[in-house]
Symmetry: C2
Subunit: 210 residues, 2 copies
DNA sequence: CGCAAAGGTGAAATCCGGTTCAACTTCGCC
DNA sequence: GGCGAAGTTGAACCGGATTTCACCTTTGCG
């Protein structure tokens, strides 16, 4: 992760030369590693520059402050996460299949990129505005998907007003399952977890006669 | 919040006199307010002592460090949250009813006590061990409830191994709905949100013929 | 009352990491 | 090959926070 697009995201001085672009890229990657491992407050600019192999002052050629890189990183990772899930879900035949595939992809993704999960979640306490933005964007896309699926008759019908809370419920599920089975412990595979969780929301807990 | 039991929770020097107990209680309440409003790192010991109306040094009569109070507070709030939900759910006729009531109580609780929500979630980045402990305890209790309900035939059956992921899924739902509809915006009542979310997991998204 | 133990005080020690800046090097183009 | 712009350097500055400590006040009990 820490894709090249973070350069675009930041309100920083764009580098004019090839050397500059390369340094910026290394700083961004170093920052992702440093923040991911140590958290925002434990992370040190010197740690970032050491990882990037540049001097302390160089950091301030590209960023105004510690918080600014952090914000740029969150935006970047927010995009990366959404893009990854969207890509995985692309060929799904219907909404329920998409849910399963998306959840599985999300858990596998947090397992592969724990820094990314951590940085986004820590944003809640470091840059609340971008954190909200991230989930509001995610939830809105999700809500539209649910509304569309209802319209096409792929899932059970219900009032429009239920789509948004449903979307948040499903996101919350994903995030916690990602934390538990992606970050904390890998005792179940992403596929198994997704199967069970989507089973829950597709079939429901209510007992049916028969 | 910030119940008296935090005194018990901390590994601090127990006060021997009435005056001491009173001061400790005020410090704990002040700490909850300070951490809740400003977050762990922005919070200052001077802020805590100012709120409590005592001198700076007094803090160190009862706590070894800033982190120690924070941990004590998390333990305390973890208990308070579980106790509150358990109490609300007490008279529920069956598991599905308990789910609805519990979720509604949780959302209402975070709305009433935002500091509590914030402190517990921030623990993820300040004292990860107590954070894990909190959710592992919560999830284990939840899992047992689901297993019991299955055994009694109150909810759809399934393999034992599904109970744990189901529990985590339901907890994640609650936490995110608490954040969105408890903390961020009160455009829907806790009851409405709980109704929709529990509808989702009890009836399921799959379309049924008929 | 009297005095040890408990509690309270706040100035000062201590630490620490973010940010600045003036001097230096490299780059890219004419 | 030379010149201005871009990039790099790291020592020093700086503010702010936690924690310590020697001294003072209050409490509770015989």
């Amino acid at each position: 992760m820490a894709t090249s697009s973070a350069a675009t995201a930041g309100g920083d001085k764009e580098p004019r030369t090839e050397r500059g672009r390369k340094t910026l890229r290394r700083l961004i990657e170093a920052a992702a590693a440093e923040f991911g491992e140590r958290g925002f407050h434990e992370a040190a600019i010197t740690g970032i520059t050491r990882r990037a192999g540049v001097a302390l002052g160089t950091f301030y050629t590209y960023f105004e402050s510690k918080e600014e890189v952090f914000r740029a990183l969150v935006l970047d990772m927010s995009r990366a996460t959404r893009a990854h899930v969207a890509e995985a879900v692309k060929g799904a035949p219907d909404r329920l299949a998409a849910e399963r595939i998306g959840l599985e992809a999300f858990i596998a993704f947090t397992r592969r990129h724990p820094e990314l999960y951590r940085i986004i979640e820590e944003a809640q306490f470091v840059a609340e505005d971008v954190y909200r933005e991230h989930y509001l964007t995610f939830a809105e896309a999700y809500r539209r998907n649910l509304a569309g699926a209802r319209a096409r008759g792929e899932i059970a019908d219900g009032p429009d007003s239920a789509d948004e809370p449903r979307a948040w419920a499903l996101i919350g599920m994903s995030v916690f399952l990602g934390m538990r089975y992606g970050l904390w412990n890998e005792d179940l595979s992403p596929g198994e977890v997704a199967e069970i969780a989507i089973g829950l929301v597709s079939e429901g807990l209510r007992k049916r006669e028969g």
